[in-house]
Symmetry: C3
Subunit: 467 residues, 3 copies
């Protein structure tokens, strides 16, 4: 009982050989590369007893696993359930949202373990991985999930895998430049994850511009239950964001502080999102799109500064501003970007990740520049900004300058990389769907026939599936 389709601009979306080939070949490549390079870090290796002795650790609880594993699991939930379900708001793209997010993230974390490993955990020819690497791999993939939000519903799974391959690579390069060359702090990834991921995705979707997309405007909406599914994603992102921003901070006060700052920022953000969602709508009603997305902007925007002495009220101010910026963005900026700049941004990542990411980078630069030994304590000051070794003479204001440079670098790599990858994805070999078949699961998925829609079709034989 396949529905007849308009096949005016029919494209070949047949995945049967292409998708398996890519999946299997790339996974084999992963196995080979892992075999050559990846081993356990000393804290995960069976030689740990000796390691403990060498490092004078008195207890197994000193293993980094116990400092970071709970946060790792929260981050893991954000990537797979958070991002996956956040994107199920579309009425007929839930399988693609959750399923393709699952696919690209599962591939991406493997590739990220390698890429980030080569840059950061490479010792005597081996990448030594522990729980912190898992978190960083999830973080890296987070930036791909963000970019996926811009092109949701318009790409084939192969395109997503190709994008993941390139984006993870570029992410690792950008991250290396920021963290190692510029010696920038960005534990929650305002710059490396959000700014980079969002502007990368926006550039890709600009290159993949589809002029006829308004043909399926009706499918770009939600239905009642799909909005509730999306709220599962929203809430898990919102609740676990304190773990996200604190997951790889220094042990002790830095993790503690990052969680508190993020908690505060997010709380404030909800209030201003609700305020502006109601205010900007003629009837004064709340819009689920804003609640699902803009409430999260506060977490993005303290990504750089949360582990610093931003203070709870500083966090509230950042959250306050970002709820407004993001909601206003959904109402005014998204339509403008689409109509004037031809940027079709399905999930509005410009409002949720791009602008708040930029704000986050700036807030981080200011907070760093404003740091004093008085506020941090002598030891705390050095520890917080890692002003040791080659950097022991760096001053807060210089650090602020480097932080700002980090934003610029992230933007440049995002634009250049996005343009390159967009061009690659435009090749007519990846099996993307025609404009009129976008936002529709049954191009790539076996979709069950619903009783309800049967009833519907039965009585409306002349009407298309989605009115």
């Amino acid at each position: 009982v396949e529905r007849p389709r308009h096949q005016g601009m029919a494209k070949n979306t047949y995945m049967r050989w292409r998708l398996p080939l890519v999946c299997l070949l790339w996974e084999v490549a992963m196995i080979v590369l892992f075999g050559v390079f990846v081993r356990f870090s000393p804290e995960a290796d069976a030689h740990w007893e000796e390691e403990k002795r060498e490092m004078n650790l008195t207890s197994d609880i000193e293993n980094d696993f116990y400092f970071r594993y709970p946060s790792f699991q929260d981050v893991h939930v954000m990537i797979f359930v958070g991002f996956g379900f956040l994107m199920t708001f579309l009425k007929r793209y839930g399988f693609g949202a959750v399923g393709f997010n699952f696919l690209l993230a599962a591939f991406g974390i493997q590739w990220a373990l390698l890429m980030q490993g080569w840059f950061h955990s490479f010792k005597s020819g081996k990448i030594l991985i522990g729980v912190e690497n898992l978190i960083n791999a999830d973080f890296c993939v987070g930036s791909v999930c963000i970019a996926f939000g811009a092109i949701l519903g318009k790409t084939s799974p192969i395109q997503l895998l190709v994008m993941t391959l390139f984006q993870v690579t570029l992410f690792a390069v950008n991250e290396y430049i920021l963290l190692n060359l510029l010696h920038v702090k960005d534990a929650g990834g305002s710059m490396t994850i959000h700014t980079f991921g969002a502007y990368f995705g926006l550039t890709v979707t600009r290159i993949l511009y589809r002029p006829n997309l308004e043909q399926c405007k009706d499918k770009q909406g939600s239905v009642y239950h799909s909005d509730l599914f999306a709220m599962i994603g929203t809430l898990y992102l919102w609740m676990y964001w304190p773990s996200f921003n604190s997951a790889i901070s220094d042990h002790g006060d830095a993790q503690h502080r990052a969680a508190i700052n993020t908690y505060c920022s997010l709380a404030a953000c909800v209030l201003t999102t609700m305020a502006f969602s109601s205010m900007l709508q003629k009837k004064g009603k709340l819009d689920m799109v804003h609640i699902q997305n803009a409430t999260l902007a506060g977490g993005v925007a303290v990504g750089t500064s949360a582990e610093m002495m931003l203070t709870p009220y500083g966090s509230l101010i950042v959250g306050f501003i970002c709820g407004i910026v993001s909601t206003v963005g959904y109402v005014y900026l998204t339509p403008f970007l689409e109509s004037r700049l031809h940027i079709q941004d399905t999930c509005g990542i410009h409002n949720l990740h791009a602008m708040p990411g930029l704000i986050g980078g700036i807030v981080g630069a200011i907070t760093a520049a404003a740091a004093t030994e008085d506020v941090y304590g002598k030891e705390g000051f050095i520890k917080a900004f890692d002003f040791t070794g080659a950097y022991q003479t760096r001053t807060p204001s210089v650090q602020g300058g480097f932080q700002a440079a980090g934003i610029v670098v992230s933007l440049l790599i995002a634009f250049a990389g996005g343009a390159l990858v967009g061009a690659i994805l435009k090749l007519p070999i990846w099996g993307d769907a025609a404009a009129e078949n976008c936002f529709e699961d049954d191009i790539y998925w076996e979709v069950p026939e619903d009783e309800e829609s049967d009833a519907y079709h039965m009585h409306n034989p002349d009407k298309p599936a989605s009115p």
Copy 2:
């Protein structure tokens, strides 16, 4: 394609200026108060290295963050996903359930940080917050979520914010009286959270009694998928309740014990809920309302005693009883309260929180009164009840008496406070809906048109939306 509505008793539910005004003004107030008062606790402050030295701590793992953060995240999930989704059972109030819960909790945790901070974490003019404060703020808001359950579907978001403001304040006062003046133990909040929250909410809904509510009886039911969404809430509350009851207990055995007792109580509660759900229905079928709610009563009822030496079998007995009490309450007491006492309790919080909360207070009093040095050990006895300083001569039976007094105080403040707040909420300025528009999302939310309901309307042009 707005549906025509019966506008017989039309009220002004227009939120466009009122809701934004309240949200923005109050959030600004939060920022100012946080700016004046709130700073990091020593364990979250960058001076932590010095603090460690002073306190002779050898490792960062001794930071309270690592003792409590996993439990904090579980509690956070309970407040936002647990309570939020538990209330999505109504067929057309899912947005309001999840969304308004989100709004009131996000505001409430900020105000709770301040109120509880002034009472408990105030040092040299500043409130010093750490992870335990975040948990306590979530706890405090939990009592508001409970009260929300009684008035679900009948109030405007502004009313909810006003209620949150007052209820958090009263919660903090009541908590101070119990914990500090009466020196009562209540780590899982049977008295402070459940008894107080539930009787407060029931008093509010009594004052807000709507005589014509049976007009929308049809909308007070569930549909198949809304019951499944609600089960997400139920299960997260059920699974994470051991974290709830142990989150702020003393480090070590107390947290460990509280988790075990709660686990046991909840398991027993499921069995008796299922038994009575089937037994009390003529056809012997299980009722989702009971499964969604009464299965949780066992967690409520060990809230006070879980950290004490209640023992696993004691916990089973408490859970056994509460599953029965709660289920019987849903079948017999809720209709009685509505018809005779005019208490319209949408979610049946009387059965899930009020009665089990009272039982929890009583069980706590008995368990405390029955404590002996033999069972607790000499040191454990003093530590468990904090019989130090001014309280070092208090005996278990006296403690039991004070515990019982705590129940009475909680009830009195709940009734008085609920009456006051109910009266305030009755003012005709908050934008609540008319009786016939209750339990309907599209008063306050932009609701997407569903295909299915379109199909429905198409063929039943003369029938109202919800048959």
Copy 3:
């Protein structure tokens, strides 16, 4: 408005007295047995201060609670939300999936605490329980949830409780033989949980074979939203599996390593599942059944070996293979088992748990046999395999042999136990439904009337409920 039903083979499914009787009697039995036997372990007992002194522990953080509680909560979510929601894929059996899973697991964990306690935590006449016992009880119940998957939709809640009683008992016996008599390693339960649980369930469903089940073939499918609900289950199982496989491993490196290996295996598994799902379907589309299930096989298959030095690339290889085996199983083996061997396996547990469980046992045996002091270090080698006391002369290859023997024992007990329990469940006293009423919630549940299905019935008065 009860629908008329075909009552050709009508059976008595009336639960009103039978279900309450079983629930209440058994719960009373639990209370009595807990009262006689169950007490707190030293780490959860109020005497902990003395215990600390005796064991020379310097900090409360050394309490096992802090090593295992986060993993416990993740496992808890897997059992109740993971398994519960994974099985909601059926269009009209969501209440039964989540609700009966809740019931059997809540009973099962209590009985498992006793059974496992007698075998493993019995000291001076008492079972002393701590957080590790809670995890093990959840594990034990996991094997029942697996078996439930085979008979989903075809049994009454009483049958499920009876099965739980027997299966938990047999699980504990089998576990004792493996862990204590054979001295086998199986921290993630490839053999004890998955192999045992799955072949037990498959044997039960074989004995309960229903020849007329194709009558309700239509109800064995999913609808769009039920597939999304099921994905919640899938993702929570997938994300938290690293916690599952590491939850009861030794402190330190073993837990750390088990989490990393599982993370890797699961990632690889997603890629090959997607590949084969597309490849084995003529139209090349992805099938939700595969994504929901086969993506998890990688976690099952490293259950034994994850805490060993399997290495990340070893894990990728195992995941790679299992995604293929499991997906191929769904496409070819499940129909074969049903038509030829009369094994009606509702959820396809043969593909998700049985085969990957066997693979997991074999991988574990090989990994153990291949262990060397070089790879593990002298101390690590002894610690990893617990080659102390009576086992200090056991060699890796002998260990490998015992591991293999563990698989055989698990299979034998599963087959024999499954046959016995299947025969018991076949007695006509447990209230199971007739074939034509299978996979239908409204036999045992009060099901709300949906607007949508009303609309449906209204216009199709002559058609059965599910077309």
